[in-house]
Symmetry: C2
Subunit: 313 residues, 2 copies
């Protein structure tokens, strides 16, 4: 693998930026990685663990002289960072981001960028429930998707160069329209997160079911919800505030379906329930076939007899 | 480990019964394991893979002479099986079940059992989204909970004996009241399953978001829902029909909370969202500390740098 950018600036040093740093180093994709974060504590930890080649104090300092600037801050902070780095960006540089919402980020960042700077919005569909500078790891993007949502007028060379960077980090890269991205993600990520947060909150509220019981007996279903609901609160607040329309639309459909199932339960309509549950099973099969998950029992957490992951190692 | 029952009859040969057979053999807990299933195909496969010592054609035949009969059929089929085996049960034998709902199973099974037969309802909180006679594995119950809900009048010796069997299968055993069980499970399992089924159904319905996109881009959140929503349709239909009241109560609270969050999104109330998401994060920490999940990034699916599971092996 060869160097794709001379200097990459990572603005914000959480899970995604940290994993990008590890992945770029693994493949030798950047000659120099400069990082910054607003919090002095984050910068201190990043410096201590050698996450980047240089840690600097401000976004402007990091972006200065970079040929790729990656905005890895919560979606609500994109405009501010874009305004701060705009004066130091050089013509020919590329700015991208890793935000979970694309139309709003484009509206926030686009207007600030000077002529000659390429803006290629991006979204890596990868993550864990962990955050902070220590949470990253090089394999996070392996075989995951990265969606790029450039305007059709964007310089083709700049888009392809960023695509090669992500491919070098192990990802599959696809391009789509920003509005379509926001709708797809409302279905596959944003609404599921809101629902998981809600269910965990309900459990927390119930006084008759003590905390320790909810936690002890979480193996069957609830556990997966808590993992989702442990994700970074600031990031997710911003996602819902900035992808409001698509999320509310999908939520509307969700409650409509939920009420139909609730009515089936109340009426004892077993046929309706069975047909519904049979249909949803097929989608799971598709996901395993698409390579986006393993079918090892219980995700391999309980040491099943044969493990696909092990077999592949 | 020493033999706890001379002859264990497994009625129904799906994931739980299959895993019990493997786990009992691993620890030498039963002198003989007799199995049966309604479907000839299931019996054929079970015989082919040697799942039990003997495979017989009917539940009555399996229960005949057994000192432990385990009902591993969907909750809706419990009454029928109980009626069938009642005439052959011998005084001193124990009958248990593995159903996800306890009050309804007690109502279905209890009246059929003759005097002198001990009934100790049970529920192992373990599972995967797979089903059928090939899906079982010995480690399924390791460090998982099994809840027993015997009537206070039940023979203490019979309860303790069954407890030792489950402990020999690797599980932690606790006892509780059947009604309380049904409420706890409505929170930790039944309602989460219904919600996951609903969300997957919504995604399937959306024509603007093609199937392949939903599947390809499922990594962030939706994937965990599809796993839950791939569980056995018959089992889950019966769960909702038989734990109707508790499920509807928790669903009511869920929609109440969901509407509050929906309103916060519509109004742009970031403070409400952030506070809610911060609160739910703490529950996740509790689950990891309780040993009911790993905090390895992405469940270890992507080979992170350090893995707790590996370290423990």
């Amino acid at each position: 693998m060869s160097v794709i950018y001379d200097r990459v600036a990572l603005i914000g040093l959480g899970l995604i930026a940290g994993s990008m740093a590890h992945a770029m180093r693994r493949a030798g994709l950047a000659r120099e990685i400069v990082g910054t974060a607003r919090s002095p504590e984050t910068r201190r930890i990043a410096a201590e663990i050698g996450l980047c080649d240089r840690i600097v104090e401000t976004a402007a300092e990091a972006a200065h002289g970079a040929d790729l600037v990656v905005l890895c801050v919560p979606v609500g902070a994109m405009a501010e960072v874009a305004a701060e780095i705009a004066p130091v960006l050089e013509p020919g540089a590329t700015v991208t981001d890793v935000g979970s919402v694309k139309r709003d980020v484009i509206a926030q960042v686009g207007p600030h960028l000077p002529e000659g700077v390429h803006f290629v919005p991006g979204h890596p569909l990868a993550g864990t429930e962990h955050s902070g500078p220590r949470s990253g790891f090089a394999e996070l993007f392996d075989n995951r998707y990265v969606l790029l949502t450039p305007d059709p007028d964007t310089d083709r060379g700049a888009v392809d160069r960023l695509r090669r960077l992500w491919e070098g980090c192990g990802a599959n890269v696809e391009e789509m329209d920003a509005d379509h991205h926001d709708l797809v993600l409302a279905v596959t990520s944003h609404t599921p997160h809101l629902i998981a947060y809600t269910m965990v909150g309900v459990a927390d509220d119930l006084r008759r079911v003590t905390d320790s019981e909810v936690i002890k007996y979480s193996a069957a279903g609830f556990r997966d919800f808590t993992r989702i609901a442990a994700s970074d609160p600031t990031m997710w607040r911003d996602v819902f505030l900035t992808n409001k329309d698509a999320t509310l639309e999908i939520l509307g459909r969700f409650t409509e379906e939920l009420f139909a199932l609730q009515r089936a339960i109340r009426r004892g309509d077993g046929e309706h329930l069975h047909a519904y549950f049979t249909r949803t099973r097929a989608i799971r099969r598709g996901i395993i076939e698409a390579g986006q998950d393993t079918d090892a029992p219980d995700f391999g957490r309980t040491k099943p007899p044969r493990r696909r992951e092990d077999a592949a190692e």
